[in-house]
Symmetry: C2
Subunit: 235 residues, 2 copies
């Protein structure tokens, strides 16, 4: 599992700090796995079964994590049970880095997954010591912020079709195969991410299939038939 990190191009991490902050190094799939490199893991890789909680919102945020494999969702609940998924995290992503003492979101395993824990205090010390790591994590924080803003645009001003198209495009981009994407999450998860009900997600996927933009191989396997059209829907 942790060999995964070794397959990544190590060269990339050598880029100049100033260059990264100046924007020449927008985080990409290839460098994601290096974001916590050089940091001492706070323990062995931890594995979680589908549906298990990794941490709960409001608990002490003493460690943060990097995904090795699988998919994690970070989400929040309203007291009547409504849920909003803030983001899905895949191999290489960091999650659980907080500004406050407590986690502001809960994290749960969407499917079988493995994560590496890191101590927040160690990160704090390293950031105070001017090394490449601080730039990487800072870049990551800014990148997450940009993503959160884009997600707001999606949630606030788009129709169901546009939301679902946007979701698919997002997954095409982090999928090894650009023709067929396999979703690890349920319709409910997708709905809670997009601010829709599971029925609407299902209907909308059906609609996109009928107009020949996608093909549902199985419920969780989707073939992208017209990426350009999807992209223009998602704007």
């Amino acid at each position: 599992m942790s060999q995964l990190a070794l397959s990544v191009d190590e060269g990339r991490v050598a880029m100049q700090p100033a260059a990264m902050l100046s924007g020449w190094a927008r985080p990409k799939k290839e460098i994601k796995l290096n974001w916590a490199s050089g940091l001492q893991a706070a323990g062995p890789v931890r594995c979680f079964r589908e549906g298990r909680e990794i941490y709960g919102a409001g608990t002490q945020a003493e460690v943060f994590f990097q995904v090795v494999s699988g998919v994690i969702r970070t989400c929040k609940f309203l007291n009547d049970g409504r849920r909003q998924i803030s983001s899905f995290h895949v191999a290489g992503d960091l999650f659980g880095i907080e500004v406050g003492v407590h986690y502001s979101l809960s994290a749960e395993a969407v499917c079988e997954c493995a994560v590496i824990p890191y101590r927040r205090r160690e990160l704090a010390a390293r950031v105070a010591h001017n090394d490449i790591l601080s730039i990487q994590v800072f870049t990551y924080a800014l990148w997450s912020m940009t993503r959160a803003q884009e997600h707001s645009l999606l949630l606030g001003r788009r129709s169901a079709v546009e939301k679902v198209a946007g979701f698919l495009i997002e997954w095409v981009e982090c999928s090894p195969n650009s023709r067929v994407i396999s979703l690890e999450m349920t319709r409910q998860d997708i709905g809670d991410y997009l601010g829709l009900t599971l029925e609407t997600v299902s209907r909308t996927l059906g609609h996109l299939e009928r107009v020949c933009l996608i093909e549902l191989l199985t419920a969780r396997e989707i073939r992208i038939k017209d990426a350009a059209a999807l992209r223009s829907l998602s704007l």
Copy 2:
């Protein structure tokens, strides 16, 4: 205008970097003004009239800004004119810090306002030099990320009443007077921030007034009559 910064308790900025990252120093109004302290301004304070664009999405992001006075909105447009306001920025807030080469949002003056420009390259250099500044800006980025996530929850899973109540509570918190808040923005702005139409915002405010939670002194001056009830609506 820039005297504003002097009224802030300078002691706060002396806190230990590690302490901030560990979450004991969640950014508050009182320390906001120090976030860019120690950085050399890239020029004189710039003033903008109501409605003026400070920068446009997609242009080169060579400087970022700190608000001295007034209110700024950062927003994005869809090609059919729909707009999503990502956030409003008030005195002390930083905006325009980007991970990419270009601004991902546009920034516009909601009302007459003054901002200080800073060079992004200087920030990059300073972050690479381990000083207090990097911790402050890093903390700011994480804080913005948390806010963006909370905004997503608002946009995705709440009714019109809950959205408007949440908006009011947000402004009570950054208002000098906790009983009466004065809004600098139009109903359209509020709608674009909450993912509602201006008519719905107006109707919802009318509704909140009818149930005695608020009182509309003028269209832009709102007296909060029952903050607790509003807060419980906004959850």
